[in-house]
Amino acid sequence: MQQAVILAAGEGQRLRPFTVNRPKVMLSIAGRPILGYVVEALAKNGIRNIVMVVGYRKDQIFDYFGSGERFGVEITYVTQERQLGTAHALTQAQGVIADEFLLLPGDNLIEAETIAKFVGVAPEAVLVKKADNPKRYGVVDIKDDEVKSITEKPGDAGSNIISTGIYAFSKGIFRFIEPELDVPAAVNKMIAQGETIKVALTDGVWLDAVYPWDILSLNDAVLRRVQPNLSGTMESNVAVKGRVAIGENTVLRSHSYIAGPAVIGEDCEIGPSVCIQPSSSIGNNVVISPFTVIRNSVIGDDVNIGPGCIIYNSVIDKGSIIKGQFTACSSLAEVKINGEHYTVDMGVMVGEGCRLGNNIVAQAGTIIGNYSQVQGKTISGRLPDRSLVY
């Protein structure tokens, strides 16, 4: 396999507020976007010719990846002007596809091992894996190593084998794409017309983020394998334990305690007397004031956190300023997304550019929209973007 097509045009609506200003593939996990892990997995398996189908907020992808040279790959960008499904996205790339290619979703976090064997498989083939909750995904019905059908989000899942969305195709696939709007439907059509789709099984890393709190599990899974790297400056009596990566120009001030696995970006100012506990990711240019504890959380770039804050199991998106004594309560919480109810063990999700005043207590499961301003004592529930709470 020499070429890969990555579908990176989707919005990821259910991940709001984090996908209002970025496409789902650019969600930051352990300091890198999900799409970055996909590109790295391909490069490590020798596939350097990459076509990216972009659409929603594609400028975010251009800014990060450029021509791909920095990542050892060559990227050709193709735009899907309107998001009309995965098969439609694939047709945008038809003109630049040479021969055989791997098709991958850009929003599933994978590692090199996940696709290591699959890159050698001949088309047409689909990569599958065992899942605990197959009902959320495309369940694959298999007979003798071949696909019988793929059923998206079945009410009653016959098996627990799901499609990873990673396929090995030849140019022949394009005969079956139009006017279908998603790839599994095209695959079913192929099978109905007597074509063979082989099945390959992987037990490598394959992670999906659908709701905002999923960011925490992806972050945790990736951080366990982070490469320790200590850059920046550490003042006296700073303790760093476990797998920790710290970026350039970051200053860790006295008596701070960093317990890995953890990633801290560049140009940060942490401390004095700050605790970062596993598994936390801190972005670039972040300031964390004294006596704040951060645990199993993802903090975006340019965030400023005041003193005495307790932040567990939470996601704070970039540019937000949180004044002192903020408590992100964490426990089993009831959250409603798109009319559906979920019970999740989580802290608080805060969008970008928010301003949280002093002494705020946010109940577990609170989701604060982007650019919101909050003053007052206790908040809960879901706040839309640009909320003002007094």
Binding site: S67, E248, D267, N285, D302, G319, Y371
Partner: protein
Amino acid sequence: MCGIVGYIGDKQAQPVLFNCLARLEYRGYDSCGIAVAGSEVKVFKDAVRVKALEKVTPKLAGTLGIGHTRWATHGEPSRVNAHPHLDCPGKICVVHNGIINNYQKLRQKLARAGHHFVSETDTEVLPHLVEEYYDGNLEMAVSRALQEVEGSYAIVVLAVGNRELVIARRDSPIIVGLGDRENYIASDVPAILDYTSRVVYLEDNDIGVVTANSLQIKNGGAEVARKEHKISWTVEDAQKAGYEYFMLKEIHEQPKVIRDTIGGYVAEGEAVGLADSGDFDLGDVLILASGTSYHAALVGKYIIEELVRTPVRTELASEFNYCGCTSPRSVTIVVTQSGETADALKAMKRLKGEGCRVSVITNVVGSTASRLADRVIYTRAGPEISVAATKSFLAQLMALYWLALPYSKIDIRRLDSLITELRQLPGKVQQVLDREGSIAECAKQLAKFDNIFFVGRGINYPVALEGALKLKEISYIHAEGCAAGELKHGPFALLGKEVPVVAVVGNDNTYEAMLTSIKEVKARHSPVIAIVGNGDGEIEELVNTVISVPKVEPIFSPVVNTVALQLLAYYTAKERGCPIDFPRNLAKSVTVE
């Protein structure tokens, strides 16, 4: 301007020369040409863009060659005026960036001696002059010829039978990129990034001999050693990467540029400030610059006067050179993105001659300005390829904030909140970029007009000037920046339905006065577009269109307002179908007066 290139090694010269020239086009793009030397010199040139010439050039075999892309100064763009230029027998070939002031006299002298000229250029005297002195030793001939030349030059010379290139510099930049058994010559680093990151900069009056394996430089007859620099820019930095134009890519890089600048200066700790000595009682400050850098200087004036409470003078470098005076007690800062702006360099040399200490804010490591200055503050914007300056302007603003902050005489609480806000700026700029869709909509309307005013007050007055300059440069609309308070002293006569006004409204003590100005403008029926901080209901009711930017401390408002205006200019130019990265008649770095 003009870009010159040269190659000597074991690769075929033609593709290398075209590749390097394409990367130098921002220096000049009305005509171009290459020459490849084998048993004879073959020249191919025309008044077209580099890619167009590359398509029609026949295969010229040879591993030694020179090339040129032109920004015409003497003689219109045409095939005969394009470089490279030859001597009478067609054996000596020259490319030149600069202006030869005494070319008329030299031409007459050479014509009387029997030389025959075909072009109207000043450059053409050079190969003939070298021919006069040539007797096999090319370096000697070039050296003696240059002694007769008055003016500026960066030249590459080749002669049939000599497997070498001779280069020379006075007042125009030239670098050598060192390779493995091959060497590259160019006006500027981006040309050779594909091939090497090891670079040597020539200094004034250097004459160099470049072979495939060596570089030897003499100055005043004596051999000198010039330092080898390792360039950290990558080819990546000089590519568009998915964006349609370099300008849009560079506008989108600004959050990163701000973040890199803050990180870099924070890392340097206390080192950066207005003066070396940490003397907190500064005299006055003089800032010199040209073009967009001059607008940065004007913003700098407001920043320094507000934070440091010391008077600041700003002067256009070109005007200062004819009638400016200063004293050695002043803190002098020169702002130049390229570090090669002729007007700025001339001012620097004079000031240093008068005993002043000069600091320079520049984006190019190793540039002439950086070597002339007593102190250099590098902006970290990476190479800016688009002719219209965008990220370099923002980076200059960041440098000026950073220079002023250590000297601030303001209350420590205000200083704290300013520094916190500074760290928020990358996110705030990104928010402006996130709204480019609505700015693009506004631009579609603006593109229909031929005359537009930009007004501002206080720290946003230079922002209005810069907004007008950007629009003018790339969309060719006649845009004029004006202090809001000055409108009624004359420009009002021009206002009407066909002349929209873009008002940059600051959230500071100028707000009320801006409201009044806008009402006065509306009374003359001009459509008004206002750039305001979020959620300003009062302005929304007054004006035709509002472009909202995130609220920031007033002293940082130029940062977000400028980005909005850059996007406005970009999308207006796009709507009008203009060649955004390479506007007509302009070049990136103005190395002539």
